[in-house]
């Protein structure tokens, strides 16, 4: 049967797929078959919009002579449908949640987009919590995420470019941007890079980020993850570009600068005094996360004369019976802390309490009482541990936590001199780093005076009349009032 060639091909391709449903029925003289996977197809809609009209047609005395034509052109069903001749395309559509209708006498099949994947409902953001401000967060379903984003920006200039990435996963990836705000060369760059990606799968948007970065070996992230639609919207309005992927509740924002990674969306919802204060605290703690352990080690082993006498005697008396050099002591504690932190994340939830109790007692008490580590160092390590989590973007916090170890070695072997060298090297590197062509330390290096208003402090909204120069192309003006 020549007509059934495509039908046979489709069946052959789908051989061995046990959850396939082939639903045959008869409409007048036409033998029909509906092919779909029940778990991913919206069955009530299918019944209502496909099966019901067909059966109604079948129950008539006389079949409409134009029946076939109407089906093929898509005017028979109230649902969006299209006709396809290619067996490959049909199979791909079926496994991605379409229902395919085969009617004897028509070459190819009619598809209905009826995807109904299991998804959770939109919940509150858990990783980027804000006190004041929108609470909703992205979920795994890209269409829900789109709806959340479109809810924020209602403008035809909000553009989306779709990619399908992954030979097996066929993951939908959208590049979203606002035409006229984002820099075309960055956009071009991103689109080209995404077009060139040829992977088996892309299960998280992080798979893509490493392909997009200019400096993939750098410890500093050159992109930003967010699970908040408002953050994406704000970034797009600054002229940045978002990459959203189906199946992941995070979207990627590019380009970034160091200071954009030090900002939280909370900053814009709170009063500018408190937001500015918090930002300064954050910078301070970022610095602490970098340098406190190494500073402690350097000062106690090389330069005890700069510690006030009373404090020095306190430290000395706490360190009196410690068998290890300060550097080793600090390393033990830092590594233990990192281990505990990781264990705290990976541990099954019911056991979480156990780990934190054991960890707290082991680190905080037993180690000090046993005389293995000194109490001041425990304080130093705990403050450092907390400090790294104050950085609003997890990836940047990771970079800080990693770089702490080389700095610790430098401080422990060369004293403050080593720390100064480390600061110099890190700063040197950061100044040279670029995220998609945007200097990482902008607006400080290069200096853009008018953009400093939104870095260390946040000025009130009525003073932020222009978009940051780092990202924006043409329309620099943000607001009139």
């Amino acid at each position: 049967m020549e007509k059934d060639n495509i039908y046979e091909q489709v069946k052959a391709r789908l051989l061995g797929v046990a959850d396939m449903i082939y639903q045959p029925f008869q409409v007048g003289p036409f033998h029909c078959e509906l092919i779909y996977i029940q778990s991913i197809v919206d069955t009530p809609t299918m019944r209502e919009a496909i099966v019901k009209p067909l059966l109604e047609e079948a129950s008539r005395n006389e079949i409409d002579p134009l029946f076939i034509t109407r089906v093929v052109t898509g005017s028979f069903f109230t649902l969006h449908s299209h006709h396809s001749d290619s067996a490959e395309a049909i199979v791909d559509d079926i496994v991605s949640g379409n229902a395919a209708l085969y009617i004897e006498g028509i070459s190819g099949m009619i598809h209905f987009a009826l995807q109904n994947y299991q998804r959770r409902s939109v919940t509150e953001s858990t990783n980027e919590v804000v006190v004041v401000g929108p609470q909703e967060a992205f979920i795994e379903d890209i269409h829900v995420n789109m709806s959340l984003l479109r809810h924020k920006i209602k403008h035809p200039d909000l553009k989306m470019v779709k990619f399908t990435i992954g030979k097996y996963t066929k993951t939908e990836v959208f590049v979203v941007y606002i035409q006229g705000l984002c820099k075309p060369d960055i956009l071009e760059n991103v689109l080209t890079s995404l077009g060139e990606i040829d992977m088996d799968s892309s299960l998280g948007v992080s798979y893509l980020s490493e392909f997009l970065e200019d400096h993939p070996l750098s410890p500093f992230p050159q992109y930003q993850y967010t699970e908040r639609p408002d953050t994406v919207a704000a970034a797009l309005l600054e002229g940045r570009i978002g990459v959203m992927q189906d199946g992941t509740p995070f979207s990627l924002l590019i380009p970034v600068t160091f200071f954009s990674l030090m900002q939280s969306s909370e900053d814009y919802y709170q009063r500018f005094h408190s937001a500015s204060f918090i930002r300064i605290i954050r910078l301070l703690f970022a610095f602490i996360a970098f340098f406190l352990p190494s500073f402690y080690v350097a000062v106690t082993t090389f330069h005890p004369e700069i510690i006030p006498t009373n404090l020095l005697i306190t430290i000395a008396s706490a360190r009196e019976n410690i068998p290890f050099p300060a550097l080793i002591e600090a390393l033990i504690m830092e590594v233990t802390f990192e281990g505990l932190r990781e264990a705290g994340i990976r541990i099954p939830k019911p056991l979480g309490q156990t780990v934190s109790i054991i960890g707290g007692i082991v680190i905080g008490q037993a180690a000090v009482q046993a005389g293995i580590v000194s109490a001041p160092l425990v304080i130093v390590v705990s403050i450092t541990g907390i400090a790294a989590f104050i950085i609003p973007h997890f990836e940047l916090g990771l970079a800080f936590r990693l770089l702490r170890f080389p700095v610790l070695f430098m401080g422990g072997t060369l004293g403050l001199f080593g720390i100064v060298i480390s600061i110099y090297l890190i700063y040197w590197y950061m100044v040279g780093l670029r995220s998609f062509g945007v200097p990482y330390m902008q607006p400080f290096a290069p200096l853009v005076l008018r953009d400093i208003k939104d870095t260390i402090v946040r000025v009130p909204w009525f003073l932020m009349k222009k978009r940051p120069a780092a990202y924006v192309d043409a329309d620099k003006k943000r607001q009139k009032t």
Partner: protein
């Protein structure tokens, strides 16, 4: 390729820089001992120095420390040598920890040693890079070592007591830096003078222990102690140096007996030329509160308040004048007036500099003005 070259060049430079540092001198904090005070005395044999160092013992201070109660949390080690360096080496040889000078806050000289000259010690100190220039200098009547035995009632160690003597600004405080600069400028300075005595102390279960008190000032000229002055004079010197916190003054006018506390002390030393000769105006300013008046004074009685102020002014000026005269008598310019002169009239200073000591003794002219302003008369009953 170019960046690779740059990076490798940069790393070579960096490695060289790293190797050039002297920072391999890592010493753990529990391998050091921190000298908190240094006591220098004349040795028994002529030309010998008796050096004592006091240091805290952190192991006895620690909450889980092995030292039981009753043991002192500080140690005192002494040695004799012909120079500070010799004595130091003897001490270091017997110590299990490395001596660190970074926390020496007090240097105490015995009177006998001070009268012979503290030049050697100061020279050694100024060459020790870790020694803080802000350390305090003191002189003890008798032996300096005796002060190290004082009983620290409020503080942990005797050296804390000495340090607090200076930082509280109750009497005089003299820092290393002013001593060194006075020496370089061929001028004098005053240092606090201490005395130790035995006292029965309630806090020590009524046992007889050693107690130290500040009993005045020691005047120095060219690193030699030349004279001593009374506590009142010492306080006014501190006031003129702007290093006095408060000062209690008791005066008797015709009608009343009053005592007042001066606070917010400040001073100004100005030099002007009178007939081509420098003339120094030393102004002491301060606000005061009235502590007691007998008979009871009414606030309205401004005349009496003025009288009390005037009496206090006179008393303070007299003390300072006397202190400066005492220095003058020994050719010591204890307020470093020459420094002011250099600042204002460098040419005249150049002429006077070689003969400054004699000039101070014979020709120095100055006037002390005191302006004490009573701000609070205190509360008083209305009947």
């Amino acid at each position: 390729m170019k960046t690779l070259m740059n990076t490798s060049k940069m790393s070579v430079v960096l490695i060289c820089a790293l190797l050039c540092t002297g920072c391999w001198s890592k010493v753990e904090i529990n391998e050091r001992t921190f000298i908190t005070a240094m006591y220098v005395d004349k040795g028994k044999k002529p030309g010998e120095i008796d050096l004592s160092l006091s240091m805290p013992l952190p192991n006895r201070l620690s909450p889980q420390g092995t030292g039981g109660p009753g043991k002192n949390p500080y140690a005192l080690v002494s040695a004799t040598g012909s120079t500070i360096g010799d004595a130091m080496e003897k001490i270091q040889t017997d110590l299990t920890r490395k001596i660190s000078w970074g926390h020496t806050r007090v240097v105490v000289f015995g009177e006998a040693y001070a009268r012979e000259g503290i030049q050697d010690t100061m020279e050694w100190i100024s060459r020790e890079p870790l020694f803080h220039l802000s350390s305090y200098i003191m002189v003890v009547k008798g032996r300096a070592r005796d002060v190290a035995d004082l009983t620290p009632v409020f503080e942990e160690t005797p050296s804390d007591v000495l340090r607090e003597f200076a930082t509280q600004e109750n009497m005089l405080k003299t820092q290393m830096v002013s001593v060194l600069s006075a020496d370089k400028m061929n001028q004098g300075f005053a240092a606090p003078l201490l005395e130790t005595r035995g006292a029965t102390m309630t806090s020590e279960n009524d046992t007889r222990k050693r107690w130290a008190s500040q009993v005045g000032g020691a005047l120095f000229k060219q690193m030699k102690m030349v004279d001593s002055i009374s506590p009142d004079e010492t306080r006014t010197i501190a006031w003129a140096n702007r290093k006095l916190d408060t000062l209690a003054v008791s005066v008797e006018t015709e009608d009343e007996k009053a005592s007042l506390t001066v606070y917010n002390t400040s001073s100004k030393i100005k030099v002007r030329l009178v007939n081509g000769h420098p003339f120094f105006d030393i102004t002491l300013r301060g606000q005061a509160e009235l502590n007691s008046v007998i008979p009871i004074l009414k606030v309205k009685d401004t005349v009496s308040v003025k009288q009390i102020e005037q009496k206090a002014n006179e008393k303070v000026s007299a003390s300072l004048t006397q202190a400066i005269r005492a220095g003058q008598h020994k050719k010591a310019d204890i307020l470093m007036l020459g420094y002011r002169l250099e600042w204002a009239y460098p040419r005249i200073w150049e002429q006077l500099r070689p003969v400054w000591n004699d000039y101070v003794k014979n020709e120095l002219k100055f006037q002390v003005h005191a302006h004490i302003n009573i701000q609070f008369v205190g509360s008083e009953s209305s009947f």
